[in-house]
Symmetry: C2
Subunit: 355 residues, 2 copies
Amino acid sequence: LRRLKDYGNDKMLLTVRWENGTLILIDQTKLPTRLVYVKYNKYQDVANAIKSLIVRGAPAIGVAAAFGLCLAAFQSKAKSTSGLISDLKVAYARLKSTRPTAVNLAWALDIIMKKATEGTSVDQIRNEILDRSLRMANDDIAINKRIGQNGAQLISKNEVILTHCNAGSLATVGYGTALGVIRAAKDDGKRIQVIATETRPVMQGSRLTAFELTHDGIDVRLIPDTAVGHIMYQDTISRVIVGADRVLKTGHVFNKIGTYQIAALARRHSIPFYVAAPISTFDSKSKLDDIVIEQRDRNEVIKIGNKIIAPQDVKVLNPAFDITPPELITGIITEKCVLKAPYKTNIHKLLNSNR
Amino acid sequence: LRRLKDYGNDKMLLTVRWENGTLILIDQTKLPTRLVYVKYNKYQDVANAIKSLIVRGAPAIGVAAAFGLCLAAFQSKAKSTSGLISDLKVAYARLKSTRPTAVNLAWALDIIMKKATEGTSVDQIRNEILDRSLRMANDDIAINKRIGQNGAQLISKNEVILTHCNAGSLATVGYGTALGVIRAAKDDGKRIQVIATETRPVMQGSRLTAFELTHDGIDVRLIPDTAVGHIMYQDTISRVIVGADRVLKTGHVFNKIGTYQIAALARRHSIPFYVAAPISTFDSKSKLDDIVIEQRDRNEVIKIGNKIIAPQDVKVLNPAFDITPPELITGIITEKCVLKAPYKTNIHKLLNSNR
């Protein structure tokens, strides 16, 4: 029996799990109405699961793909290391093609392939890459727990925390980043109420965050994205915590569309605005202008399910993410420390100490 | 043949129309997929239409209800004025009960009932209240046209104007308030592009504004409510124009949820923020604390059509409207003038000159 370490909370949602030679994923397309775990024994099915958003969230996808390569190693009938590597390369290409823009996916697959090429026998390769994948999964949770602890120290006894999108268990292997901070604060005995924005157009707030927090017995209220300003105006919110897709060395944060306007509104109302992100999210190379903001499918805006909610020929702007400038960010919570301004200097120090 | 005056544009959507003794409404529940006109010959059916949101928008509801009373007068078999008034009182109560919080509904019905009680014969009452209702409908469009002209003077040759919710033809008898300004600017030969927010939770932006502007050949792009800040950050928007549910004598504007945060973001980006509202929207009596912000049905947030998009037992905050303080408002466009700060003084002057 090979399984993830138990992190002391049996009820914690584990989005990606390895058990008895099988990969188990939560089928996120069934949420919030049903919590369904699906077993995978073939890497091809894992590739389909990533492509069809059964599993989503950068860290979760990376680890799922790593386990996908493990399944490919066990599926392979190769008798030689070169035969096995050859089979793994086919699986690698297939898995990598599922979400071409996901940085974590390539990162995770490259680590596993590198490990595989170092092996000296078929069995050793199988064992080594499975161990490395299990470590990757455990590391993800461990990092999130440290982010949680670092963030929880900032939080007072009674707080109402607003979060956007889903930076929770369901975006990671488990525990989450922004929601990890909330879990850790609650575990410290603090009374936390969460306000979750529904996060149009893909509704990760309604479908995932509201589900995940309800599941864990954390007090959550769902609001339309249009109500953020009003609820801040009513003096309801004590803090904002969100995740990040990418943090530049200048401290500019790329995250789900809607993050920037929440940060701007928080500033207007003097509400602390925090980003929770592992160091793996920091991009020390790209400049602000290097990043192209992807336009997503117009159908996300004009349809919900099969229901058409706008004229089918109307023009749509559907940017996937936005940029929150460092001057709006009170702090960035990482597994090492809570970064504060001046971000350029402090991010530089953190990334260098981390090498 | 009794019909509304033609305002020079045959293609203009007329939300409420009287033709050949019949009330004709656009069935807004069928939008944006189908443009369906429904004929009404009985006041009871008009009451049902108001209740079921076939017609919505305060000015549109008021005028529809007035015509409902006209239908009741023609339906009545009474031979005496007292018999007719008695029948009209039944219809009045039925029509008024459909949307108890709509101020315009009671206002319009009271005007028609007062007119009815002044009549001296059954036929005279019928004619008088129909004339008064037709005048009310014409006045609504005429006021909107004047708002449009006053607003259009503010607008430059090329502008990208963001609007929220639907303050258009479909909320009024025709032409609209905020969208009336855009129509008037376009008729002046200016090149106007509109950005329409989808306006969760009820999606008046997607369903109505996007439809109405597409129908009229006005350039419109639809965005999720989460994209407002990002699109302002990209320096795309030259002006914001919204409608109003109620304007207090202090200049505080009550309008659809999401208006306040757009105003706050506009201020951050130095974008002029205008409200377009007829003088009938001004409330000279209420104080800020008098107004209770209604919480609407949670199902608006957790369901779209029959599709469940959030855990069914999750707590929801669904405020119907919000408050934009006068310091965020560049101007309020009325049929008489464009009000500027200091609002308290200038609103006082306007309302007194209007008596």
